[in-house]
Structures are given as C-alpha cells and as structure tokens.
C-alpha cells in the first residue's frame, strides 16, 4: 500500500516538475513549482526523513515561492513577461537525446547501489557522547560541523552578493518596499502578519529546542522565521531595516561568528570544532539558537532583494 502512495507521489513530482519547466505562462510555472516543492516535502516524509521534510516544505513551498513571485512581479513591471520561448528544433533534439541517455546511465548507476542506512550504524554509538538524540542534528553540528559552519558563511556571502546588486546611489538604503499599495489588502495582510510573526517565532523556537532530540533544527526554524518576517513585511506590520543598521548587521553575523568562536575554542579541547566532553549539548544548543536567528534574518533579506532607490527611507541617516 505504501508503495502505491510512493509511486503516485513520484509520478506527480515528475509531472509538476515537467509542467513547471515547460508551461508558457510564467506565473503558471511558479505555481507548479510551488506545488512541486510541496510534493517534494511529502517525498521526504515518504522516505521517513522528517528533518529534511521540514526544511523542504518551509523552503520549497514557502521561501522559494515568494522569491520567484516577487521576481516575476518585478520583471512584469519592467515589461518582461518571462514567458518561455522555444529554442531551435535541432538543439531540442540533441539536448533530448543527451539528457535521456544521461538519465538512463544515472538511473542504472543508482539502481546498482543498494539503498543502505550504513552510516546510521556508525553515528548511533557516538550520539550518547553528545547528549542529544536527533542524529541529523548530531551530524550537522558535531560530526560534520565544518560543513555547517561554512554553509552559514555561504548564506552571509549570498546576502552580500545580493546587496552588491544595489543600483548606484541606493546603497545603503532599504530594499524595495514589499508592502501592498492597495489599502484593504494591506489591512488584511497586516493583521495576518501581526498574528503570524509571533506564532512563527514560537514555532521556530520550538523547532530549535526540539531539534536536539526530535526532528527540527536551526535551518528549519530559520526558514519559518524568515517566512514570518516576510509576511509581516508584506503586510506592512514591520518595515525592512536599512542595510547599514548596526543592529541588523549584528543579527546577521551573530550566528556564524558564534559558531566560529566555539569552533576555534574547541582547538583547546583537541581540535577545530571539537566540543569538550560534558559541554556538547549546551554548545550545540547555543550555536543552534544564534544560527537560527541569523538564518531567519538573512533569508528574509535575501528574498526582499537589494536596496532600491525608490524605497521610502524615513530616517536617511539609517539610525532606525
């Protein structure tokens, strides 16, 4: 029975992905892509990988959807309808043959590898040493902490890159005002934003706290926080801060810097990112809470986009 569910789900995933890519209208493509992100979240639930499902649903259906919708709206305002125009037949045939062959080879390679949760047996005995039970969090923040540290800096780097796209003279202003021009819409979205932001904060804090023993963690929590901030921003409940505001910059770098500091302090305990014996859980939770705050703010600003000249800047000095 579960095989039937998985099969139908996989067929729908392929269907929504194909339509999302090849439908003419840009908004239809984005709507199908959001459905694709939702279904991918279910795929991870089908694989019993709940930690990944939390991240995929929050990011695939939430943040990426908003990102693409806002990008399309801005392109449309510039007269670019982003409809997908075809390419020469010869190119299409060649690409089709190449990609089909590639898929056959890839599928054959994948089928030759028996699915195995081997590393689960390697990780399991090490978990009591960390004092947490969620093995994915254990891998993310202890056994492969190096990747996660670099990733938090990649996020910061992506935001710096997006900010560097600010038009001349717009720096260090605010991103384009995500608020709504239409008054009734703004009222409805505003009240919803006022309700959603605190709930998103509580949900995110729960995800971080539960993340050490149950599915959850800093990334999923950060994405939920980013979603709450974005809805509040679009509803006009909160204004987006100017990019040179000291408090904002502190929030952005807090997570990565604390992570790096704890990592470097670990050198005394034997090596980079090594947690002293008894302190593992306390350090992990500290890293997770600071990281979740930075990820939430960074993702929200990544979606809001680079500072724009048109954005209203009530306090030009950016004191905020």
């Amino acid at each position: 029975m579960t095989f039937a569910f998985d099969l139908i789900l996989c067929l729908m995933i392929l269907g929504t992905a194909a339509i999302a890519l090849f439908v003419r209208d840009a908004l239809a493509a984005i709507a199908f892509f959001i459905a694709f992100g939702n279904l991918m979240g279910l795929a991870w639930l089908g694989l019993d990988a709940v930690n990944v499902a939390l991240a995929e649903i929050a990011i695939g259906a939430g943040v990426t959807g908003v990102l693409l919708i806002l990008a399309r709206a801005r392109l449309l305002a510039l007269g670019d309808a982003a409809t997908s125009t075809g390419s020469p037949l010869l190119l299409r045939l060649g690409a089709l043959a190449a990609c089909a062959g590639f898929v056959v080879l890839l599928a054959a390679a994948v089928l030759s590898i028996p699915p195995e949760s081997g590393l689960d047996r390697v990780v399991a005995p090490l978990m009591p040493g960390l004092g947490i039970e969620n093995r994915v969090t254990g891998v993310l923040l202890a056994f492969r902490a190096y990747d996660t540290l670099l990733e938090s800096f990649v996020l910061l780097g992506a935001l710096v890159a997006v900010w560097s796209l600010a038009p001349a003279g717009a720096w260090p202003g605010r991103p384009a005002d995500p608020g709504m021009a239409d008054a009734p819409m703004r009222r409805v979205a505003g009240t919803f934003g006022q309700l959603l932001l605190p709930v998103a904060l509580v949900m995110a804090a729960y995800l971080v706290w539960a993340g050490s023993d149950l599915p959850g963690g800093a990334f999923q929590a950060g994405t939920v926080l980013a979603g709450g901030l974005l809805v509040a921003g679009m509803g006009g409940t909160i204004g987006l801060p100017s990019s040179d505001q000291p408090l904002l910059r502190a929030a952005l770098v807090l997570g990565p810097v604390v992570f790096l500091a704890i990592g470097l302090a670990g050198v005394a305990a034997g090596g980079l990112l090594v947690y002293p014996a008894g302190l593992a859980k306390a350090l992990i939770v500290t890293i997770e809470y600071t990281l979740f705050l930075s990820i939430g703010v960074t993702l929200a600003l990544l979606v809001a986009g680079p500072p724009m000249p048109g954005a209203s800047d009530p306090d030009p000095e950016g004191k905020g």
Partner: protein, 112 residues
C-alpha cells in the same frame, strides 16, 4: 487489507530513480529554455533531483541514514540562497536593460 500490489522497487530506489529523472528533466530544460528566470527554475529542479538521489539511497530497509539527510538540508538552504542571488541578478539585468532604452520600451516589448 493488503492490496496485492507488486513491489518492483524498494522505496529508496523508487525515489532515487525519480531523482535521476528530475536531474535529466532539469538539464534538458536548462539547455532549451531561453529566459533566465525559467533556467533558474530548471537549476532548482536539477538540485532537487540530486537531493532525492542522495535521500533515496540513504533509505535502508530499516532506518533512514542521517548523513544524506544532513547533506541535503545544507544543500537545500544553500540552494535557496543562490536562487535568491540568481533572481536578484535577473531582476537587476532587466532593470539595466529597461533603463538603457526607456524610449523604445513600450512598443518593443510584447504586451504580456
């Protein structure tokens, strides 16, 4: 009530093969689609396919491997950060293009 459905593939393999198909689909779309926003979607589909392969192969008969899960979570977050950067670049490019030829802007672009 067990429907006599033939179990051809293990769960892990089914999702992994779907991932492989997604990678091929995304690659084909990336090659043939002209508009940058659509190519950004194609890159995301390729990424999702690769993550599904990783996740599928980590799904043993009894447990799900935490390692691919951690890699995929990191991958998803980095993918959304770079999608944001890609989208910002596409919008910025459209703005510079629109600013470069304001006079011929209205009649040249087809009405949506």
């Amino acid at each position: 009530m067990d429907l006599p459905l033939p179990v051809l593939l293990s769960t892990g393999h089914l999702y992994a093969v779907t991932g492989a198909a997604l990678v091929g689909l995304g690659l084909y779309a990336f090659i043939t689609l002209r508009h940058p926003l659509r190519q950004l979607l194609a890159v995301n589909v390729v990424g999702a396919g690769i993550f599904l392969i990783l996740g599928g192969l980590g799904r043993g008969p009894d447990a799900t491997d935490p390692f691919p899960q951690a890699l995929v979570i990191t991958g998803i977050v980095v993918a959304v950060a770079l999608t944001a950067f890609g989208a910002a670049m596409i919008v910025r490019q459209a703005q510079t293009r629109a600013a470069a030829k304001p006079a011929a802007d209205d009649n040249e672009n087809p009405a949506p």
